[in-house]
Symmetry: C2
Subunit: 375 residues, 2 copies
Amino acid sequence: MNLNFRVLKKSGRNYSRLGSFTVRGFGIKTPVFMPVGTYGAVKSLSPDELYELNYSLILANTYHMYLRPGYELVKNCGGLRGFTGFKRCFLTDSGGFQVFSLAKLRDIDDEGVSFRSHIDGSLHRLTPELSIEIQNALGADIIMAFDECPSGGAGYEYVRLASRRTFEWAKRSLASHKRGDEQAIFGIFQGGIYPDLREESLRQITSLPFDGFAIGGLAVGEKKEDSYRIVSEMVHRMPENMPRYAMGIGEPEDIIFYIKNGIDMFDCVMPTRNARNGQFFTFSGKFNIRNSKFSEDRLPLEQDCQCYTCRNFPKAYIRHLYMINEILSHRLLTIHNLAFYKRLVEKIHQAIENDALEEFEGGFLKNFAKTENSF
Amino acid sequence: MNLNFRVLKKSGRNYSRLGSFTVRGFGIKTPVFMPVGTYGAVKSLSPDELYELNYSLILANTYHMYLRPGYELVKNCGGLRGFTGFKRCFLTDSGGFQVFSLAKLRDIDDEGVSFRSHIDGSLHRLTPELSIEIQNALGADIIMAFDECPSGGAGYEYVRLASRRTFEWAKRSLASHKRGDEQAIFGIFQGGIYPDLREESLRQITSLPFDGFAIGGLAVGEKKEDSYRIVSEMVHRMPENMPRYAMGIGEPEDIIFYIKNGIDMFDCVMPTRNARNGQFFTFSGKFNIRNSKFSEDRLPLEQDCQCYTCRNFPKAYIRHLYMINEILSHRLLTIHNLAFYKRLVEKIHQAIENDALEEFEGGFLKNFAKTENSF
């Protein structure tokens, strides 16, 4: 399915760009950040809260939904939209990354991968065909080809093998995709930290008729300078007229760096998972609500933030809720962190519009890094 | 502070009545059920959700707020309304019941009660004066006199002593109340399961210039027939021109019984606590979302319920969320259960309006009890 992706503006100074695509009537402006709803829900939030935060596209994990509650059930409940009540747009990953990072006793061959559930140890086998069958059943608007994602420490020979397998699996993913008129499908290129393997994988994957492309195998344990090097060498060579997606990225500073190199789409658990650990993001840095300095703080998490949390609650109350393990605190912090990511991306849009992303980055990092390591 | 309580309609067949009172411009129609926000928040819910459920009056626990985060802090953050963001009305209990039911190593004398925190074992002492000082600081619209609540199994002599102490403490509570122009104060009568002690306590407490009265010491471990007997003997003798409050009540069938005997106000953790254990209330009975029969159920929790949960989510999804420990499930079940209690009370209003509460009760119990013990 063609997403009608358009590049609306390109920087003259770096590879950043503004764009848009359309999914079932929803216009998605890029760069776009997608909150993660592992099991269908962005943890602690209702669909209405995501609407209020102005998120129209979220990610759900195929691996998790496959194990619980099962894809036939979701299909019978009207797919992800009918099941979860989130009526806007979904992207599902292929399950590959989770099989390689979460599951136990993996046994990979050219046909697919056998693994044991991280939940109950039950034995499963995932193939490109089954991943696509599951994703067809879940019914997301954008689905991903099944790839092999080696860990960040994998050696050259292994990564070479995995990249070639990823190419074969990409072809099989495309061939088994039965809902191409309703669901866009993206290909993923791999290659680890090895430039020649990256180049070969990019060439192979982009030779296939996907509707968008992702760079996989980043932030999987490799050194940050290695992933940054790969990103700066490879991303601008991804097809220009298609959305470019960096899976599992990232920290705010990563997002800016990747956008400078031409990435359009992101997903990351950081704003939501860290919220549940008490962390909140502000343009003055990251803080933890557990810090006793907030115990009598009558100000909102961030003074110029207009999210529901910041409009209504002093830090002292959110801290109180957190300290007594009241789950409302997770929700209030999650709302704020997703509002922060939204504002960050909007500020980046504005900076690209003015072709002043470097200046924005400089100012952002100066303030954001200042208190980064404060508790 | 006068609540301008009015009895609007009285049954000709039982002691039930419709009434209203006013708090800071909020009209409260009685009978009224108050959700419990132990630490300030009704667990898992935001203030907006309580507004949408049309709850204008909630209870917060003085004992809990005293221990965490402390009443000076709450006062400095603008009292319960400023601290919690719930801008409607609060009632606080006196802390007495929790000291007697939760705390350890209680040492009661005529002056007050020494106890150890159930959280960290720290030593504290609560007196009528301190309870009122805390409640003045928390700033609820209705506060409660400090009483001694013996357990349901307490013998006659002990209950007699506790009731007399409760009378002395009621006088001291009134004498130390410093915000009588902004906060109504209710007296509580005790007496356990002993009619003569109940009668004496009622006479003593209602001789004092309180703004409303509560029957305490029910549902504290006594047999249900004993509490029902006390309620049917005593409640209609409480002052008629004042709100009558049954603390900590109760199950839906209790609420109907108490209203038939003239009670106007209730609070109970049941709809909210049970939600977090997976239980949901319907007019066809109580069920638990964990039950595997709901695993593929595409219908809402209750078909004619209009709450946010029932408008948007199939049981299969709520069950899925519950089984993966996703806190959104607690919230969705809490919303529904509070909507159920709201609807129950509204149906009771209608039944009293038509002077047909017995008929309503008969029909309700027939359907509600049907599946009460189903998992």
